[in-house]
């Protein structure tokens, strides 16, 4: 168990080539679970390989327990890694796979036996110890790969998309199991994934990456509620956030966004600090679950009537699509209240929850964290169900 800190880490594969990693700054405490998430090619796996020492960094420092390890070879870093392909040694039995690292580190045979049984018991793979990896199912191989990492008791665990080769049902099971495991063992962990649900559910901290740059680093809640830019907002959340490009206006001294459903118009008063926002091309972001059906009794929230174009029942929710301005907007409604296609409904949303992004740069506008009420945990839990 250890702390991990990255300071201005850079990686390039040669002069003239674009940087694979640019000024990566991260810090996690002992026992924390860090998720690196992003689309493929964003540099997350490279970053993990750099932490493991499988690739060299071209600038910056990687510190474990305040000591710079960036010059050390992988075996001296005291790090264990679980690979997407599991990378089990095919000619060795499960037991030999788990023992391999311990034998190389010259651990006493009795201690090795003890360690193997501890890990096998923990992961419930005792009955598989004498089998070869080729005789195991995907889920079993995954457990063995984890076992190999656990047996070494390293300072830090690295997981490189460990669940992505499993089928959907098993993936969800293993996700829960990994979380349980981490809660029990409390080991510092770095976990790479492109799956935003894994990112939200597993991580203590999440770093969203794109093009070798960390777009945002924070708790899952912060990333979800307070995305730093359009990319983070669009990447995290399923179904994704709705984006409505428009030009902001000022009316009666207040900043407003004008929405048009083709059937009605609505002036959405915005509560964020408005310096320089007037008359600006922005993108308005609104999560599907933040759009509600308006109650019969007026409650003062802005309301707009819109016609339902498509509905997608998912079971727990029904996704209802309407047209607002030029955009198709998804609303997440309870199945029993969701209207049919062609019907009109009155929608409303809390203006204080609306996010604004600059249309050109994609950067968030208004003050981060100020626009968001705090009681949003419910949404996170609800969202992970999907």
């Amino acid at each position: 168990m250890a702390t991990l800190e990255l300071r201005k880490v850079n990686k390039t594969y040669g002069p003239g080539l674009p940087d694979t990693l640019k000024n990566i700054e991260l810090k996690i405490k002992e026992g924390e679970f860090l998720i690196l998430v992003g689309p493929s090619g964003c540099g997350k796996s490279t970053l993990m390989n750099c932490i493991a020492g499988l690739e060299n960094i071209t600038g910056g420092e990687i510190l474990i327990d305040e000591t710079d390890i960036s010059g050390m070879s992988p075996k001296d870093r005291d790090i264990a890694m679980v690979f997407q392909s599991y990378a089990l040694y095919p000619t060795m039995s499960v037991r030999e796979n788990i023992e391999f690292g311990l034998k190389i580190r010259k651990m006493a045979p009795a201690a090795i036996d003890e360690e193997v049984s501890r890990v096998a018991k923990l992961l419930q793979i005792e009955h598989l110890l004498n089998r070869k990896p080729g005789q195991l199912s995907g889920g079993q191989q995954q457990r063995v790969a984890m076992g190999r990492a656990l047996a070494r008791r390293p300072k830090i665990y690295l997981f490189d998309e460990p669940l992505s080769n499993l089928d959907a049902k098993l993936r969800v099971e293993m996700r829960t199991e990994m979380k349980l495991m981490h809660q029990r063992l409390k080991t510092t962990t770095v976990y790479v994934t492109h799956d935003q649900i894994e990112a939200m559910t597993l991580g203590d901290k999440v770093a969203v990456m794109k093009d070798g740059i960390i777009q945002q680093f924070g708790t899952p809640k912060e990333i979800y509620n307070d995305p730093a830019n359009l990319f983070v907002a669009s990447f995290i959340g399923s179904p994704p956030m709705n984006f409505i490009p428009l030009r902001l206006q000022r009316k009666d001294g207040r900043l407003i966004a004008l929405l048009d459903s083709g059937q009605a118009r609505c002036e959405l008063p915005l509560s964020m600090s408005d310096a320089g926002l007037e008359d600006r091309e922005v993108i308005l972001g609104l999560r599907p679950e933040q759009i509600m059906l308006a109650p019969i009794e007026p409650n003062g929230l802005p309301t707009i009537r819109a016609e339902v174009q498509v509905t997608e029942p998912t079971g727990p929710d029904t996704l209802v699509f309407v047209q607002l301005n030029e955009s198709k907007v998804c609303c997440r409604l309870a199945p029993d209240v969701a209207p049919q296609v062609g019907e009109t409904m009155n929608l409303q949303f809390d203006p204080s929850k609306v996010l604004l992004f600059d249309a050109k740069s994609g950067e968030r506008l208004g003050v981060l964290g100020k626009t968001q009420p705090v009681e949003r945990t419910g949404n996170v839990a609800q969202f992970s169900r999907n």
């Binding site: 992988p74 075996k75 990378a87 040694y89 060795m92 391999f100 190389i104 080729g134």
Partner: protein, 281 residues
């Protein structure tokens, strides 16, 4: 009705297939049968009967005489082939391991150049090689021939192993490095144990190539250091005395037996190795 027609046409085509196969098989086996039959005949018998007739008297005299003549050269061939096969396979495995899993700047170009060696005709290396052997003091020795075969075989063995290892996931090496294993430990403990099929292919290929080699043998050896292929040629092509076809045939059989044996013993691995795809982790 239609099914009957269908059935009969299938069996007809079957018959045709088997007929062709048997014909090809016979054609293929005739030379071997002729050699075997002739080697057990007496010289008089060979003069009177036809090629495919059964020996009037079965005698091993040809074999005994042949063995007396090629005995030393047979062991020369063993002395050349065994070390050359083992060395070229071993170094080829190491080369393939480096070129697929420890790539360095320019390793692709290096591999490309090495591949060039596969397409070099034997004849082009004769002069430079004899120069090199002379400088090394290995001219006309079996050790020199081992060297020649190892160098010439490396292009092939490296190609075999490199292409096999390319399909082995990189993550295996990464995992082993994190487990604390070094370059040679990873090779010996993880990579080599997975390589049985390609090792077999390589061994068979190299054994056949080196054992059957004539050109290098005739150029780079003389007298007592000659391999059996050269000795066989000398025996068969003697222009003095009466032609002893039974001895010639027996000597040819002796020269050919080891490769035949290798195929019989390890042939199934050869096919398996050639068709081995990605290793399931």
């Amino acid at each position: 009705m239609t099914s009957l027609v269908g059935k009969s046409s299938i069996s007809l085509s079957r018959i045709a297939i088997y007929a062709v196969l048997i014909l090809v098989c016979v054609l293929y086996l005739v030379p071997l049968v002729v050699m075997l039959l002739t080697s057990f005949k007496t010289p008089e018998d060979i003069g009177t009967g036809n090629l495919l007739s059964w020996p009037a008297v079965v005698t091993a005299i040809g074999w005994v005489k042949a063995w007396d003549t090629v005995d030393g050269y047979f062991w020369n061939s063993i002395k050349i082939t065994v070390p050359a096969v083992l060395l070229s396979t071993g170094i080829g495995a190491l080369n393939g391991y480096v070129l697929s899993m420890w790539r360095f700047r320019g390793s692709q170009a290096f591999f490309g150049l090495l591949l060039f060696g596969c397409f070099l005709p034997f004849q082009t290396v004769l002069l430079p090689m004899s120069f090199t052997l002379g400088k090394m003091g290995l001219a006309s020795t079996t050790t020199g021939l081992v060297f020649v075969h190892v160098v010439y075989g490396l292009a092939f063995t490296t190609l075999f192993f490199r292409n096999y290892y390319v399909s082995v996931p990189d993550a295996l090496v990464k995992a082993a490095r994190l487990d604390g294993a070094g370059f040679f430990t990873i090779f010996a403990k993880i990579i080599l144990p997975m390589s049985t099929p390609i090792v077999m292919v390589c061994l068979i290929w190299q054994f056949t190539q080196i054992w059957n080699d004539f050109l290098f043998g005739v150029v780079f050896s003389s007298g007592d250091s000659q391999p059996i292929t050269v000795a066989l040629n000398n025996l068969v092509n003697t222009s003095t005395g009466v032609k002893e076809y039974n001895v010639d045939m027996a000597a040819a059989m002796i020269a050919g037996l080891p490769t035949l044996l290798v195929y019989v013993v390890a042939g199934k691995y050869f096919v398996r190795g050639l068709t081995a795809g990605a290793v399931k982790g």
